[in-house]
């Protein structure tokens, strides 16, 4: 299939960017979106031009590095799919595809389609961990976790931190990311000692960089792991309890 690509090109952080148009002929529908970009980049290198910078690593939908805005949709048109797992059969011959980096104040552009998502790391550093005593591992069966709870925590833990939720959100809010990172710890027994403190800290860092939630639901639609909006409600509930009931005083680590 023959495609026309309109790609955001930007030499570096803070510099002027622009959309550039490329003809990409002879694309197989079995290629992934990233392989299609590889084909274009190969040609650009041969022609002595600067290849398009985009972030990628595992190419199997679990590392979260390959996010880009494809025709106005985060990770493109297929639901529950990261860009690397999006295949060209989702497009048709002659299509024009617009590719842009994530856009949010909290995600400054590094180059072309690569953005700096270290604000996510800051949210994690604020409380996305549990403090455990080092030493011999305790007997695993001592801490029982109901199946339903383990499943829900696993649903939240699926978040790969790609940033599609922020990219798709009209407010550039990071509620779905933060709530997923909170829920997979706050639901489990191991996460309880720091639960209230963690919620206050991670929300605090989130609000320094990101917008607020107006319950559009775009984040869930964009999420390659289809993380549920329910986690946002759980975060709002835990934050309310942590502040109003002041439980962090009882639950200090």
């Amino acid at each position: 299939m023959d495609l026309t690509l309109k790609v955001w090109r930007q030499a570096g952080p803070g510099t002027e960017g622009r959309i550039e148009t490329y003809d990409v002929p002879g694309i197989s529908e079995e290629m992934s979106f990233l392989e299609m970009l590889d084909v274009l980049n190969d040609r650009l290198i041969v022609e002595g031009r600067e290849p398009i910078a985009f972030e990628h690593d595992c190419r199997e939908g679990i590392c979260g590095s390959c996010g880009m805005m494809i025709n106005g949709q985060a990770h493109g048109p297929q639901k529950g799919t990261a860009t690397c797992q999006l295949h060209m059969r989702k497009f048709s011959d002659g299509d024009t595809i617009v590719v842009e980096p994530w856009r949010a104040t909290a995600f400054p552009i590094v180059k072309d389609l690569v953005v700096n998502r270290s604000t996510f790391d800051e949210i994690i550093a604020a409380g996305g961990y549990i403090s455990v005593t080092t030493g011999a591992a305790q007997e695993a069966n001592l801490t029982l976790v109901p199946k339903a709870v383990a499943d829900t925590a696993m649903d939240a833990a699926q978040c790969i931190g790609c940033g599609a939720c922020v990219a798709a959100c009209p407010n550039s809010a990071a509620q779905l990311f933060t709530s997923a990172k909170l829920a997979h710890l706050n639901l489990l027994p191991q996460g309880q000692p720091e639960r209230w403190d963690r919620t206050v800290r991670m929300v605090g860092v989130m609000e320094q960089y990101f917008g607020s939630c107006t319950n559009h639901g775009e984040c869930h639609e964009a999420c390659p792991k289809e993380i549920s909006l329910d986690f946002i409600a759980y975060m709002n509930r835990d934050y309310r309890k942590a502040i109003v009931k002041n439980r962090s005083l009882i639950a200090q680590p």
């Binding site: 909290a106 009209p170 929300v203 559009h216 909006l229 759980y234 680590p253």
Partner: protein, 244 residues
Amino acid sequence: MATTTRPAAAELATTKRKRPWFIELYGTALGKKYVMAITGIIGMLFIVGHMVGNLKLYLGGDHLDVYGEWLRTIGEPALPRTVFLWLLRGLLITAVVLHIHAAWSLTRLNHRADIKYTNRRDFIAANFASRTMRWTGILVGLFIVFHLADLTWGAANGDFIRGAVRHNMVHSFRRPPVAITYVVANVALGIHLWHGAWSLFQSMGWNNPRFNQWRSWFAWAFAGAIVLGNISFPILIVTHAVTY
């Protein structure tokens, strides 16, 4: 990792001493969302009461005027006349002011956080109601000012008689432009309520998979009932189905 938590915890303790916890909470975006939800609930309760009260128009006679007079006398003889009414008005004014301030400051936060795409976002879940909350909100706010001028202060109503609720209402809504204004404003209110009545559950963290479907049913039912009830007054009066 354990050592990193200590200085931050100390910081939290010192900021807590400076301002009361609810002021601190209002300083956060999540806190403002709780305020949006709670003041929204106060507004919703008022809207239901307001509409149910107005339905007395259809009982005919002086039912509506008697009801209007009763509102002034609630709490008597424990409270002097209109004291309870003014307390209620105070609560409503506070709620409206907080709702607007929180919305304004959250909107500013969101505009700071968001950068526009060259190629517009293709919205999938966001609907007309959720994306126009601030505009329907402004519309309803302006309408409330007109509505007060029309039927509370009487300034926008040529033949206003204080206390003659039914007479004022019929006289006002007989003017077609006014009737149209009321219908349009109440449709805007309905759109605002439809998103708000669902959204508030998420903001407050009231989420239970067993009842989540009920939240959108509730939003439909609530917004629908309010719009139908409220637009029936101007429509039935402007068509002379309801007279003095």
